[in-house]
């Protein structure tokens, strides 16, 4: 049998198999694109064309439902993994000048014993986000809020990049041999507590989560308690409140003391 005869409508095998395949395709299309969608009353389809579009996956804009507005200020920072990850010498230089006024509490090298957070070597996205939240009022602190209020967006980026550029300095409580508590290593999965390091940088980094090593235990404890009590609410969509709320007072203590002793 030559090629011509094989692919010709005169060959009954060819015409029948093509016909059957086409019939199945048409039937399936009618069932999947028209009949099944129209059987779903929830979809509230306006007609056959609407049924075909919805079944084919044409995106619909979410229906405008009246959202309950927030009763408090939430963070308006859009955090992405790429955010402020590029070094910029000009920015760092400007940041160094701006950071002079931060030195009273945060130390001339971004480290202090005043129980205010150490900023040297902190991820730039973190410092930038917190400054922004202080400025908008999503996070409130009597000392920090007035400082942030007068900073421009560029100021905050510069300061954040400057502190990210400074080398980390261990705290006076440094003790790398301290065994990590279970809550740090494994978390408590059934209580929705993942290992701290899965976001805070030791294992993986979730953008916007601070490096905790060398922070004052007093500061870490105060922040965890504030998250748990809901007095600090600038974590986007409750990402830290969900976890802090599930921790026991003892676990909060252990975490604070452990991280203070880390580099």
């Amino acid at each position: 049998m030559s090629e011509d005869e094989l692919y010709s409508p005169r060959n009954p095998w060819f015409s029948i198999s093509v016909g059957v395949t086409a019939a199945i395709a048409v039937l399936s299309a009618i069932v999947g694109l028209i009949w099944l969608p129209l059987l779903q009353p929830d979809l509230k389809l306006s007609g056959i064309w609407d049924a075909i579009c919805s079944a084919a996956g044409v995106p619909n804009l979410p229906r405008p439902a009246a959202a309950v507005p927030p009763t408090f200020k939430t963070s308006n920072v859009v955090v992405t993994p790429e955010m402020l990850t590029r070094q910029d010498q000009v920015s760092i230089g400007r940041g160094a000048t701006l950071a002079q006024r931060c030195a009273i509490c945060h130390g001339p090298q971004g480290v202090s014993d005043a129980n205010s957070p150490n900023l040297a070597g902190q991820y730039a996205a973190v410092t930038y986000k917190e400054l922004n939240d202080f400025k908008t009022g999503a996070r409130v602190n009597v000392v920090m809020s007035p400082f942030a209020a007068n900073m421009t967006d560029q100021d905050m980026r510069d300061v954040a990049l400057y502190y990210a550029y400074l080398p980390r300095v261990p705290s006076s409580q440094l003790n790398p041999g301290l065994p990590p508590p279970a809550i740090v290593v494994t978390g408590a999965p059934l209580r929705n507590i993942p290992p701290c390091g899965s976001c805070h940088g030791e294992i993986d980094i979730k953008a916007g989560s601070p490096w905790l090593g060398g922070q004052s235990a007093v500061y870490i404890k105060a922040q965890l308690q504030a998250f748990a009590a809901g007095t600090r609410r600038n974590d986007i969509s409750e990402q830290m409140r969900n976890i802090a709320r599930q921790m026991t007072a003892e676990e909060i203590d252990q975490v604070a003391r452990y991280y203070e002793a880390q580099p």
Binding site: V20, S54, V58
Partner: protein, 192 residues
């Protein structure tokens, strides 16, 4: 004695007939298999709740907290005018917000959820709710709980190194208790 050519010609004719018969049978069988599969999909699509979502809806994962229906204050369960309940939730590394969903029993419920970062899994133990939360898209699921009780809600799609710690909860309460709660608050959760 017949010649060898005749003999081989007979064999050839016989072989062709056998091949044609076998081919016809296999062709019939494969068409039947396809029809059964299409029929099965249609049957389960109509008579069981295993239908894929009918409409595709989008939501920008990076700005969920800024505006729209997934802002923090709008998450949780809302009692609608028609008596049904809409539950809005998001998945993020590594928790669901709200962490605990509260819903009434014997009430039509619509769950609307999305992801703020990567793909998460949304599964409610003891029900047929099991879907993915894909960043950029809204998952919309109808559900009905028959009796009060508690269900765990683990993330069932590997979403990162802290995935195993991503567990939520669903608390089903009776209708009156839910209505009482809804009288004083517009969005309900069972987060303590």
């Amino acid at each position: 004695m017949t010649s060898e050519t005749d003999h081989s010609h007979d064999e050839h004719g016989l072989g062709e007939a056998v091949a044609a018969r076998i081919e016809r049978r296999w062709a019939t069988l494969s068409v039947v298999i396809i029809c059964v599969l299409v029929g099965l999909a249609a049957f389960f699509g109509i008579y069981h709740a295993t239908m894929p979502q009918g409409r595709v809806e989008t939501a920008d994962p990076t700005t969920l907290h800024l505006s729209g229906e997934f802002v923090e204050s709008n998450l949780g369960s809302a009692l609608e005018a028609d008596g049904s309940v809409t539950v809005r939730a998001i998945g993020q590394q590594y928790s669901f917000t709200p962490q605990c969903l509260v819903v009434p029993a014997e009430t039509p419920i619509t769950i609307r959820a999305t992801s703020a970062d990567v793909v998460h899994g949304f599964l409610i133990e003891g029900t047929n709710i099991n879907t993915m939360l894909v960043p950029g898209y809204v998952s919309d699921l109808p559900i009905r709980f028959n009796a009060p009780g508690e269900h765990v809600m683990p993330c069932q799609e590997f979403c990162g190194i802290g995935h195993q710690g991503m567990w939520g909860k669903v608390k089903v309460v009776d209708q009156t208790a839910f209505r009482n709660m809804a009288a004083s608050k517009r969005r309900l959760t069972c987060v303590d």
